[in-house]
Amino acid sequence: MQAEASSAQVKRFEEEFARLRKQQRLQLIGFAIVFLVVFKFAADISNFTPQRLAAGLPRIGEYLSFTLPEIRLTSLFGDVAYWYYGFFRWLGLLFDTILIALMATIFGAIGGFILCFAASRNLAPHFWVYFVFRRLAEIARTVPEIVYALIFVVSFGIGPFAGFLALSVHATGALGKLFAEANENLDERQLEGVRATGGNWFEVIRFAVLPQVLPNFITYTLWRLELSIRSAAIVGFVGAGGIGQELYHAISFNYYEDVSAIVLMIILTITMIDLICEKIRHRIIGKESLH
């Protein structure tokens, strides 16, 4: 009796299992077909063939090996000095790059701050105000920095000013959106409290919203600085100042060893900024968690 029941159960289980397996397999095949179609389409449209890849790959290895400097142990200092012959000029350009990133982050944070209260659903005076400002922020951050840089180079001339403006606009959009999201996650009770004591809109923002969101704003701003330094290193490609211009020249005119020297300096700078930002972030968050 019991054996019969359990064998029926086993049978049911097996059927169910087989059904699930089949369903899963069909799903997988479906995805595979969609994927292959998309892949074929993508490969066709971008002219991507195994032959071209095979022809290109060795050339990349060759190129990269050209960029490596010749450094012998016997004349180490001389070789490094030769490799970094432009060290102080590059250092100056890197300084510009860092300034562009810092300035863009400062102005982006100010812009985002001004934008964010109107762009958050719970603080905007009207739905349409929220809608317009939120979309504005999103559009500002969807357009890549380098596109702004191209336009600002045409209107404000070549140099770091155009790069600073381009990165600022992008950062304003990105930070405006993030700040607004932070605003939307806040605790409503404190807003009620300030409103109940007769506070107007500005007082609500100052005494109920800001104390809650300021730590978030600071971490987001630091995060933006890490991204801005990366972008600031490349806006020079289109003439918007900083080390990018020099790198663009080095690559375009095949000054192979300059390429590796500059790239190394950029990576070291970015790593340094990241480490500093992380330190500050941890200090702020550490302080927060003490409360």
Partner: protein
């Protein structure tokens, strides 16, 4: 002392003010520090503006020219090259797709090599992890320019550029995902007599695959954005048309291209978000890397910020 709000008179208030000065206002010292910081910031901004060679005349002229350009962006028109532009846009998306795909495939074995629980030898792991950092530390646009020199103009350079930075990003993310797997399942496979390869296949892979797929989709979104600009250095896609139109001052077409980029990026974001949440169900985890909209916070910080 117990107080009810109605009972506070000015005498009590001044007592309270004396006892808890910080509850009423900042101390003079704090005020001075704030003022100094503000002045320092102002001085820094002024110094930068001076160094950037910003003059009122330059700002005025620039605003004037920028205003004209902004006006000329509207109405955005494609003239008779709509299909060319559309094809170039599709080329950008295709570049992002292929680049992400290639990077993901190459990064899986690299991710295993970079994970502490798979490769416990620190001396070997260290250079592997640092080379990931190098790959992702260099911007895709720099790689694109290098690849244009190496393999010539066209989308192939763009695909390779996206793949190169993404190998670094994926390998790091995958290695971290692998390091965070549940040990029990791995030990279960090992106890049942599974070889090292089988342990990876049945013990680790099922745990990390959803995370990997989610990260890949996420990066596809982000790469679509980068793929739109790689053309500026000649690596294929819409970027070439864009920089070309800007240099030729064809502003209405520039406006059209920018709007097309915004729409397509939004569309890809939407599709990828849907796939991540509905199909993989791991979509809520944003990868911990620097991309346009995923702030890079460590796990400990993340609880706080959300």
């Amino acid at each position: 002392m117990s107080l009810s709000a109605a009972a506070i008179d000015t005498g009590q208030l001044s007592v309270l003010r004396e006892r808890h000065p910080r509850a009423f206002s900042l101390t003079p010292r704090e005020r001075a520090i704030r003022l100094a910081l503000l002045l320092g910031l102002l001085a820094f901004v002024l110094f930068c503006l001076y160094r950037f060679d910003v003059t009122p005349a330059r700002i005025m002229n620039g605003m004037d020219r920028f205003g004209k350009i902004a006006g000329a962006l509207f109405p955005p028109t494609a003239r008779d090259v709509f299909w060319d532009l559309f094809k170039a846009m599709m080329e950008s998306v295709a570049m992002a797709f292929l680049g992400t795909l290639i990077a993901a495939i190459i990064a899986v074995p690299l991710g295993f090599l970079g994970a502490q629980n798979v490769l416990p030898i620190r001396l070997l792991r260290f250079p592997i992890r640092r080379s990931f950092d190098f790959l992702r530390g260099t911007d895709a646009l720099v790689w694109a320019l290098v690849y244009v020199r190496a393999v010539g103009l066209g989308p192939l350079a763009g695909v390779l550029a996206i793949a190169t930075t993404d190998i670094g990003i994926f390998a790091k993310l995958f290695a971290e995902a692998i390091e965070n797997v549940e040990r029990k399942q791995v030990e279960g496979v090992r106890a049942a007599g599974g070889s090292a390869v089988k342990t990876m296949r049945f013990g680790i892979l099922p745990q990390v695959l959803p995370i990997m797929l989610s990260n890949v989709l996420y990066m596809f979104e982000s790469n679509t954005r980068s793929a739109t600009i790689l053309g500026i250095v000649g690596a294929g896609g819409i970027g070439f048309a864009l920089s070309d139109r800007i240099r030729a001052h064809l502003w209405d077409e520039v406006g059209f291209i920018i709007i097309m980029i915004i729409v397509v990026v939004a569309l890809i974001d939407f599709l990828s978000h849907m796939l991540r949440t509905k199909v993989i169900k791991a979509g809520t985890n944003r990868p911990l890397v620097l991309t346009e909209d995923a702030p890079t916070f460590s796990d400990a910080d993340r609880g706080k910020s959300r």
